[in-house]
Amino acid sequence: MLEIKNLVAGVEDNQILNGIDLKINPGEVHAIMGPNGSGKSTLAQVLAGRDGYEVHEGEVLFDGKDLLDLAPEERAGEGLFLAFQYPVEIPGVNTTYFLKSAVNAVRKYRGLPELDSTEFLKLVREKMKILELPQSFLKRPVNEGFSGGEKKRNEIFQMAMLEPKLAVLDETDSGLDIDALKAVAEGVNRLRSPDRSQLVITHYQRLLDYIVPDFVHVLYKGKIIHTGGKELALELEERGYDWIIKEHNEPVTA
């Protein structure tokens, strides 16, 4: 589904990613952990195609297509979704209108007929049930006046609506209390399926108690220096990152 090969990227002259290799198969959930400044969010932004991030080397294949060659909205159309760490507010634009535009833009890209209002509302109701969101959500302007938890739930709701093949969750747990965290994680888990993959970026292990990954990668100075199973997350929580970094800096052969 996603294949990242030797990805070197950064912002202006500042190189942040120093050769990332990562392969995600359909249905898999991968977690990326790492200390602050290791390049976790940069990876998310580069995958989504944010302006200002430059790729110097490497390639990213998404279902065999050259992802880096596509505009951000085309990547969305192909089925890449990014749940933002800091979802932006769009005053005056109600959530329903925004969602309908998004869903229909993506459908159009995929060559599907646009949904009319009735079909759209049916889909909305279906997805809202999964996430147990109040109806009032829809009438409010996008993220405006939302609490931190509401914003993150709105991200997951959008993810449910857009049915991406690959969802990248960028520090979705940041700023959430434990109840909000559980609610968000539950939403994410319900969207898990054999043909959908998730890339969960997080600083803390606690999110991974609720979204259980198949693989955990440790990112350090823009490189994946260690990969393990879900138990690695627990080990990191206990021992921190230093031991891995040490191992990385002093290879066993030395």
Binding site: E12, G52, E73, A76, G77, P91
Partner: protein, 481 residues
């Protein structure tokens, strides 16, 4: 945010979509202004004596006045003697129906997407079309006549209702008011006249489409709307202008009078040619619009969507004279390219329990400069007067500017005046957020801007709101691939 502003640069570079000139033989007066020109204009319109006298008084006053320098706009000096003050499409007799209207003129309207025929049937809107200086088509007269409503060119009203014109013209905006109002009073070409009789709700929304077309001809519209006791009217004004090389001066005056319990709703969608990227050739729009809430419980509401003109200088105001009267001002002003706008409102509270609301949304893109200038004045006897003002500015790109000049003058301590102001930048992050959800950049910008302007659009009549939204989209359209 370290990201580049390429996207936004692309977005704000767009060209005026309504640029062309229709070839219609016009009868144009040589450039220059003196008493003879004023007499010529008056004679051309076969005006009664009082009108000529009034024009001459205005002209003599204007000669002693100086152009205002206080607005936050810059332009080369205007040579008022280089402007022609009269231009009219040639015609034999006044057309009785659309069949008699110059087909080329109708074609022009078609291009603008406002075919009169369709307007008549679909929208149920009576259109008093001003092409250059003379009204060429007036529709729905009969329905209005039945209701007793007078809706006609002001040049016609001076003949059919001289007593009303004499009584009210200059009663809200006297020719001594300001430089451009004086100029307009001396040489006004034409405009609309509306009179709604006592207790009458005007059976349809009234609309006028203006269009400047003759080269180098100043347009001096003069509109006068009078609502008698307990009456109501909604008036729509919209315009687009063709592409030009030379700057064109547009100095209109609009006067509204609302008597006891009367309500006037005046909506404008303005799209004069803004000039090229350097601001060359755009319209100078120096307008005086003012309403008088003369009687108790009267209400005047201005709603404007301004996307055009090289320079806009415009402050639709309300004088709240009657007790319990209400004044409202809702505005969206867009400056793109090198446009400059200094616009806002004045709310003058004289009567008791008078209330006013100001909602101003400025959008600056390209190298546009957008200034809000507002005055809330509470007079000594205006007990319990209230005002709420909200002035928001949105910046698109990093070469534009937004400025706010709010003035408050309080002479009664029981008054309550609130002012809120925000400045925001349309974020690459907002656009990216939409992109990430599959929405293309242009659609994203339209969505974000329309959301920002929502409060104002909600004030517009339905079909006009749709038009305004489209216009806004077109104004900010770019070459996004």
């Amino acid at each position: 945010m370290s990201s580049s502003t390429d996207t936004i640069d692309k977005l704000v570079k767009n060209e005026y979509k309504y640029g062309w000139t229709t070839e219609i033989e016009s009868e144009t007066l040589d450039a220059g202004l003196n008493e003879d020109v004023v007499r010529f204009i008056s004679a051309k319109k076969n005006e009664p004596e009082f009108m000529l006298e009034w024009r001459l008084r205005a002209f003599r006053h204007w000669e002693k006045m100086a152009e205002p320098k206080w607005p936050h706009v810059h332009y080369p000096p205007i040579d008022f003697q280089a402007i022609s003050y009269y231009s009219a499409p040639k015609k034999k007799e006044g057309p009785k129906s659309l069949d008699e209207v110059d087909p080329k003129l109708l074609e022009t309207y078609e291009k603008l997407g406002i075919p009169l025929e369709e307007q008549k049937m679909l929208a149920g809107v009576a259109v008093d079309a001003v092409f250059d200086s003379v009204s060429v088509a007036t529709t729905f007269k009969e329905t209005l006549q039945k209701a007793g409503v007078v809706f006609c060119p002001i040049s016609e009203a001076v003949h059919s209702h001289p007593e009303l014109v004499e009584k009210y013209i200059g009663s809200v905006v006297p020719y001594t008011d300001n430089f451009y109002a004086a100029l307009n009073s001396a040489v006004f070409s034409d405009g609309s006249f509306v009179w709604i009789p006592k207790g009458t709700r005007c059976p349809m929304e009234l609309s006028t489409y203006f269009r400047i077309n003759a080269r180098n001809t100043g347009q001096f519209e003069r509109t006068l709307i009078i609502c008698e006791e307990g009456s109501y009217v909604s008036y729509l004004e919209g315009c687009t202008a063709p592409m030009r090389d030379e700057n064109q001066l547009h100095a209109a005056v609009v006067e509204l009078v609302a008597h006891t319990d009367a309500e006037i709703k005046y909506s404008t969608v303005q799209n004069w040619y803004p000039g090229d990227e350097e601001g060359r050739g755009g319209i100078y729009n120096f307008v005086t619009k003012r309403g008088l809430c003369k009687g108790p419980r009267s209400k005047i509401s201005w709603t404007q969507v301004e996307t055009g003109s090289a320079i806009t200088w415009k402050y639709p105001s309300v004088i709240l004279q009657g007790d319990d009267s209400i004044g409202e001002f809702y505005s969206v002003a867009v400056t793109n390219l090198k446009q400059q706008a200094d616009t806002g409102t004045k709310m003058v509270h004289i009567g008791k329990n008078t209330r006013s609301t100001i909602v101003s949304k400025g959008i600056s893109a390209g190298r546009g400069q957008n200034s809000y200038r507002g005055l809330v004045q509470i007079h000594k006897n205006a007990t319990n007067a209230r005002n709420f003002s909200q002035c928001d500015s949105m910046l698109i790109g990093d070469q534009c500017g937004a400025h706010t000049f709010p003035y408050i003058e309080l002479k009664n301590s029981s008054a309550k005046v609130e002012h809120e102001a925000t400045t925001s930048k349309i974020g690459e992050d907002q656009i990216f957020y939409c992109n990430q959800r599959g929405i293309e950049t242009q659609d994203a910008v339209n969505m974000i801007v329309n959301g920002y302007c929502k409060e104002v659009f909600q004030q517009l009549p339905m079909e006009f709101a749709v038009e305004a939204q489209k216009l806004l989209n077109v104004s900010l359209e770019g070459s996004v691939g």
